[in-house]
């Protein structure tokens, strides 16, 4: 088996007395869509934060494309091809949609110590931005301030921003959170297309979406991965049923 794109080994993160990440190991192969599910408070977002470098693990290591990135700051990981979307929409709200995406493209197009030329007139950046916006179907909203976009549009923009960094691996933290049925459907179709181009780690509560999309699923409970495998295996797994799927209706309501 070839070297996995992302390899997480025995990752541990504590907050005071609580172990939020308890010796988590995880492999994501090239081209795979790997879903991470688990009840609220299972430590999914904490795990994502460590993968992106916003949080430092207490021990364990993270490898991207065969390279140890455990000690790198967030911006260096981004340069190596790791992109994320945030669970709670986190955009530059006083910028337009196009500016948000163009900045992401700019981050990966040489340094930004250019002080004089108007960056909004750089064709390369604008074209990259429009390509990413088109990808998620937001072209017509390019010049609208983010604060005036609908929630669904902001979720899509999150994706466009991540895409504009031309990532190898996309970490999506609950991209369907707060979306209505129609918007969710659109998001699923969008991810269906994207997975052909880029490997994805998907944290999501929407079980229907997860089982429709994922190649493999890992289940987290109380900071630990209790099961990992094909969707069909996870569906049959007794421990998962007991710990999680059995109370799915409760979780979804919380979600």
């Amino acid at each position: 088996m070839a070297e996995p794109l992302l390899r997480v080994e025995k990752l541990v993160r504590r907050f005071g007395g609580i172990i939020a990440t308890d010796h988590v190991s995880l492999d994501v192969a090239q081209g795979e869509l790997h879903a991470i599910i688990g009840p609220n408070g299972a430590g999914k977002t904490t795990l994502i934060a460590q993968l992106t470098g916003h949080l430092t693990p207490n021990s364990g290591s993270i490898w991207l494309g065969g390279r140890d990135i455990s000690g790198l700051p967030a911006y260096r990981r981004s340069a190596l091809g790791l992109a994320r979307s945030f669970q709670i929409t986190s955009l530059l709200t006083d910028f337009t949609a196009a500016d948000n995406v163009a900045l992401a493209a700019q981050a990966h197009d040489g340094h930004s110590f250019r002080f004089f030329a108007d960056a909004r007139k750089e064709r390369g950046l604008r074209e990259a931005a429009h390509a990413a916006l088109e990808r998620v179907g937001l072209t017509h909203r390019a010049d609208v301030l983010v604060s005036r976009l609908s929630h669904g549009e902001q979720r899509e923009l999150e994706l466009a921003v991540a895409l504009a960094t031309r990532p190898k691996l996309l970490l999506l933290d609950e991209p369907m959170a707060g979306l209505g049925a129609t918007e969710s459907g659109r998001m699923v179709r969008l991810l269906q297309e994207l997975r052909r181009e880029v490997s994805i780690v998907l944290v999501e509560h929407d079980m229907e979406a997860v089982f429709a999309l994922a190649d493999r699923i890992s289940v987290m409970v109380y900071g630990r991965v209790i099961a990992s495998g094909l969707p069909s295996e996870i569906r049959r797994n007794e421990e998962v049923k007991r710990a999680y799927l059995g109370e799915q209706h409760v979780v979804v309501r919380h979600g």
């Binding site: 967030a74 911006y75 981004s78 992109a83 930004s112 108007d118």
Partner: protein, 315 residues
């Protein structure tokens, strides 16, 4: 944005036109005082504009910006005292000293956030203030008189009131132009992005601290130039130039005019200093009115002059 001038642009254009024509008015009416007053205003407007770059666009609330006025000023004063009268040496030294101070202070201060940043910049400025008070050779607490203004080998004569005024105005407009280019450049967008959402900027691949530091240094250097001008204007430098209330004044100008707007600090400086002048003519106790006025501006005048005009434009 609609065609033609909106209210903000109109006010900016009128302010610039007024500043350009001011020496003519002074000449025609024989009112020399107004020229002296406005030379000071133009210089402090430049300091405020430089503060606005980090405060308004970069989200870095520095409460120690007056330190650069002092450093730029003392560079000129000390060199003059030591017999180096040429502006071609004095001014670059003033800029370099300010930049160097900004690099050191910025590298340390930018480790902190929020109120802590406000306080640490204040503390460093107070330190600079005490350093200046301790310079026995250069007057200590009493300050240092500059007997000869910076000499530019006949290019401009700084002792000529009108020439000096126009030099200051050129520096101000040059600074505003530079800031305008910067805020629309790649660099400027990054800095503004960091103000808006640092975590997001890191996630898409920008090393935050580096960009912030460079912005901090640009701002400090510009303010150092204002300091060199101020020293020439008053023919005198003293620790009081960097006292914390002076930093407070600069903040007031920026906020009064409209933080994060290009012309806001200029409008703010003109409004603040003219108001101060007018009030002090009306009553000896002008601060009795100015103080509560500031409070009211904070409570009701969100966005300052430019913010209010902006609301006017949108109707």
């Amino acid at each position: 944005m609609s065609k033609g001038l909106n209210a903000r642009q109109a006010v900016a254009a009128l302010t610039v036109a007024g500043l350009v024509l001011l020496p003519l008015y002074s000449h025609l009416t024989g009112n020399i005082f107004v020229l002296t007053l406005f030379t000071r205003i133009v210089i402090l407007a430049m300091a405020a504009a430089s503060l606005n770059l980090i405060m308004g666009y970069g989200g870095m609330m520095s409460f120690g910006h007056a330190a650069y006025l002092g450093i730029g000023g003392y560079a000129v004063g000390i060199l003059a005292q030591e017999g180096v009268g040429s502006g071609f040496i004095q001014w670059p030294v003033a800029l370099a000293a300010s930049a160097l101070y900004a690099v050191v202070i910025g590298a340390l201060s930018l480790r902190t956030r929020g109120v802590y940043f406000i306080m640490i910049t204040l503390a460093f400025a107070q330190m600079a203030y005490y350093v200046a008070s301790g310079l026995a050779r250069y007057g200590g607490d009493d300050g240092l008189t500059i007997y000869k203004r910076s000499d530019f080998s006949g290019l401009v004569d700084l002792s000529n009131r009108v020439q000096f005024y126009y030099l200051c105005l050129a520096c101000l407009l040059g600074a505003v132009f530079l800031i305008w280019r910067i805020i629309n450049s790649r660099f400027g967008l990054v800095v503004q992005g960091l103000r808006s959402n640092e975590q997001r900027m890191q996630a898409i691949g920008f090393p935050a601290k580096r960009y912030r530091l460079v912005c901090f240094v640009i701002s400090g250097t510009l303010c150092g130039l204002a300091g060199a001008l101020l020293a020439n204007n008053t023919d005198f430098v003293s620790p009081a130039m960097m006292y914390w209330t002076r930093s407070g004044d600069l903040m007031v100008m920026v906020i009064l005019g409209g933080m994060g707007t290009l012309f806001g600090p200029v409008a703010g400086a003109v409004a603040f200093l003219v108001l101060e002048e007018v009030l002090s003519q009306v009553t000896e106790y002008w601060a009795l009115i100015m103080g509560p006025l500031l409070l009211l501006i904070v409570l009701f005048g969100r966005g300052g002059i430019m913010g209010t005009l902006g609301r006017l434009d949108r109707g």
